[in-house]
C-alpha cells in the first residue's frame, strides 16, 4: 500500500514565521479553510487566506485539499453565512500579495506554488494528501 504523500507538486501550504506548527494533517487544513477550527496551539486566531476564485491554484487547492470545487465552496459559504454567521476567507490575487499577507498576520495560513515561496513565510508539511 502506497503511503500518502506529504506535499503536492502544485502547491505548498505556508504560515507566518512565528507559527510553531510544522506539520498538519490534510483534514485539519480543510477544517481551517472551512473555519471549523479557530485557534492555533499558540492561541493565535487562525486566519486562512484564499486566492481569487478565478486563480488556477485555487481550483487545485479546492479539489485536492478541500475535496470540493470552487463553486461548491461558494455554496458552502452561503450555508455558513446563514447558519453560523461566518464569512469566507479573504482572498488575494497574486503570490506576492499572499506572501505579504501571511508575513504580516501572525495567525495567517495560505498556499502558493512551490516556486513562489520566499524567506518571509514558513512552509508546513501536509500529511495524508493524495
Amino acid at each position: 500500500m502506497e503511503a500518502p504523500s506529504t506535499q503536492s507538486p502544485y502547491l505548498v501550504v505556508i504560515v507566518n514565521k512565528e507559527n510553531p506548527v510544522k506539520t498538519l494533517p490534510v483534514a485539519e487544513v480543510r477544517r481551517i479553510f472551512m473555519k471549523q477550527s479557530r485557534m492555533w496551539s499558540n492561541a493565535e486566531p487562525m486566519v486562512p487566506v484564499d486566492w481569487d476564485s478565478t486563480a488556477a491554484i485555487r481550483d487545485v487547492f479546492s479539489r485536492q485539499v478541500l475535496n470540493r470545487s470552487v463553486r461548491e465552496m461558494a455554496e458552502y459559504w452561503v450555508q455558513q453565512s446563514m447558519t453560523q454567521g461566518l464569512s469566507p476567507p479573504s482572498t488575494q490575487r497574486s503570490a506576492r500579495a499572499v506572501l505579504r499577507f501571511v508575513a504580516s498576520v501572525p495567525g495567517a495560513i495560505s498556499y502558493v506554488s512551490p516556486g513562489d515561496v520566499d524567506e518571509t513565510v514558513a512552509v508546513i508539511k501536509i500529511t495524508g494528501l493524495k
Binding site: A27, N67, M82, L86, S94, A97, R100, F101, L129
Partner: protein, 422 residues
C-alpha cells in the same frame, strides 16, 4: 432547580474568559501592529505615485504588483482589526413562491420568506440574529382533543388570524467556543436537527419543508445549549464526533420570555462523521432526543417525547438525505419521515425526488407526498425552483372520529419559487 440552569452558563462563561489586563495588553499590541501596517501602506502608495510619474510601459507591471501589495497590506490590517474590533456580517434571503394544486386551497402567489441575518465574531464569542417575515405562525398550538387542525401546508392555519404573516425573531443567540470540544450557546436558536438547521430557502431544493417537520421536534428552542466535536484524521479524511445537549423553555407560543412550568424541556444530539474519500464525499449520521412539554390551546402543557435519526450521504454528484422521527404526547404516537435523493446534473442544475410521510392523530392528518423537482442555480446565491407533487391521504384508524368529517382526497400540485441570498 430553575436557578441551577441559570448558574451553569454563567459559571461556564466566567471560567472561559481571560483576565482583563491580559486582554488589554493584547489589544495594545494589535493596535501597534495596525499602526505599523498603516505606515507600510502609505510608503507603498508613495512608491506607486513615483512610478506613475515615470510613465514608461515597463513600469506598468511594477505598478500592478504594488497595487497587489497594497491590497494585501490593507487586508492584513482589516484582519488585525477584526481581532480587535470585529465587524458585523449582514446577510439575508428573499423567497417568492407560487403554488397551485387540487386541494381546497386556492392557487396563490406567496411572499414566502424575507429574512435578515446579522452576525459578529469577537475572539471566541459569536453572536447571530435573524429577523424573518413569513406567512405562517411560528408556534402552532395543538388542540387537546386533536380535532380542529390539520389542513394546509403546516397544518395550523387556524392560529394565523391575520393571514398577512408576521415578523419573528427566529434566531438570537450568543455563543462562546472555549475550544472545539466545548462551547456554549445561549438564546433563541433553531433545533439541532439537519433540516431545521438548514431550512432556509436557498439551502433546500424543494419550495416547502417536509410535511412531518413541524409535527415532531420543536422548530426552535429558548435556552442554553452545550456543544462540541472531536475528530481524528483517517487517511485524507477524518472520523468525527459531535454532540449537543440543551435545556430550554417548554414548547408553546410566547416561550421566549416565560414558561408555564419550572420543569424545563431538554434534548440531546449525537452525530458521527465517517471517513470519506474518493467518490464518497460525506457520510454523516445522527440521533436526536427531546423531552419536554407542548402547549395546548387551553393554556396547559402536555408531556411530549420525541426521538429521531437522520443521515446525509454524498457520493460523487449524488446526495441522499433522510430523517425519521417519532413523538408521543396525549397518549398518541405520531411519526414522520422523508427520503430525498438528489443528483447534481452540472454546476447550475440539480434535480431531486422526495418521498415524505406524516401520521399524526393529534392534528388528524395522515398523508404521503411525492415531490419531483428541478433547481436552476446560476449563482450560488440564486435558486430558481420548480416542482410537481402528489398528495395521497393514508387510511388510518385515528382519522375516523365520531363527528365524522370531509374525507381527504388525493391531489396533484405544482409549485415554483425564486430565491435570492444577499
Amino acid at each position: 432547580m430553575t436557578r441551577i440552569f441559570f448558574l451553569v452558563p454563567v459559571m461556564a462563561l466566567a471560567a472561559g474568559v481571560g483576565p482583563a489586563w491580559a486582554q488589554g495588553n493584547e489589544m495594545a499590541t494589535l493596535r501597534a501592529e495596525i499602526a505599523k501596517q498603516e505606515v507600510v501602506i502609505s510608503q507603498l502608495l508613495r512608491r506607486i505615485e513615483a512610478l506613475e510619474k515615470q510613465q514608461p510601459p515597463s513600469t506598468t507591471a511594477a505598478v500592478q504588483d504594488l497595487q497587489g501589495d497594497i491590497k494585501a497590506q490593507e487586508d492584513s490590517i482589516n484582519s488585525l482589526r477584526e481581532v480587535v474590533n470585529s465587524k458585523v456580517n449582514l446577510n439575508g434571503y428573499y423567497n417568492f413562491r407560487f403554488s397551485a394544486d387540487g386541494s381546497e386551497e386556492p392557487a396563490a402567489f406567496q411572499q414566502h420568506h424575507l429574512g435578515v441575518i446579522m452576525a459578529k465574531q469577537l475572539g471566541k464569542f459569536n453572536f447571530l440574529m435573524e429577523l424573518e417575515l413569513q406567512n405562517v405562525p411560528h408556534h402552532p398550538e395543538i388542540a387537546p382533543e386533536g380535532g380542529e387542525e390539520g389542513e394546509g401546508e403546516a397544518g395550523h392555519e387556524d392560529t394565523d388570524l391575520s393571514g398577512e404573516g408576521q415578523v419573528a425573531v427566529e434566531n438570537a443567540w450568543m455563543e462562546y467556543n472555549h475550544n472545539g470540544y466545548v462551547g456554549l450557546r445561549v438564546g433563541k436558536q433553531l433545533s439541532p436537527q439537519y433540516w431545521w438547521q438548514n431550512h432556509y430557502p436557498n439551502l433546500t431544493l424543494s419550495t416547502t419543508i417536509p410535511i412531518y417537520l413541524r409535527e415532531l421536534f420543536p422548530a426552535e428552542l429558548v435556552g442554553v445549549m452545550f456543544q462540541g466535536n472531536a475528530a481524528r484524521p483517517v487517511g485524507n479524511s477524518e472520523l468525527g464526533f459531535g454532540y449537543k445537549f440543551y435545556v430550554a423553555n417548554n414548547n408553546f407560543e410566547g416561550n421566549s420570555q416565560s414558561d408555564l412550568s419550572d420543569a424545563k424541556s431538554w434534548g440531546a444530539r449525537g452525530q458521527v462523521r465517517f471517513p470519506a474519500s474518493g467518490a464518497v464525499r460525506r457520510i454523516d449520521v445522527a440521533a436526536d432526543i427531546y423531552r419536554g412539554k407542548v402547549g395546548l390551546t387551553d393554556n396547559t402543557l402536555a408531556e411530549d417525547n420525541v426521538f429521531g435519526f437522520e443521515s446525509q450521504i454524498e457520493i460523487s454528484s449524488f446526495l441522499f438525505q433522510t430523517e425519521w422521527a417519532r413523538g408521543k404526547s396525549l397518549e398518541q404516537t405520531r411519526t414522520g419521515f422523508y427520503l430525498q435523493p438528489a443528483w447534481r446534473i452540472d454546476e447550475d442544475w440539480i434535480t431531486f425526488y422526495r418521498a415524505e410521510q406524516l401520521e399524526s392523530p393529534r392534528i388528524q392528518r395522515a398523508e404521503r407526498r411525492h415531490i419531483v423537482g428541478l433547481n436552476y442555480r446560476p449563482y450560488p446565491q440564486i435558486a430558481l425552483k420548480g416542482e410537481l407533487y402528489r398528495s395521497q391521504p393514508l387510511e388510518r384508524d385515528f382519522l375516523h372520529s365520531e363527528e365524522g368529517g370531509a374525507e381527504a382526497k388525493p391531489f396533484n400540485g405544482f409549485a415554483t419559487a425564486a430565491v435570492f441570498f444577499f
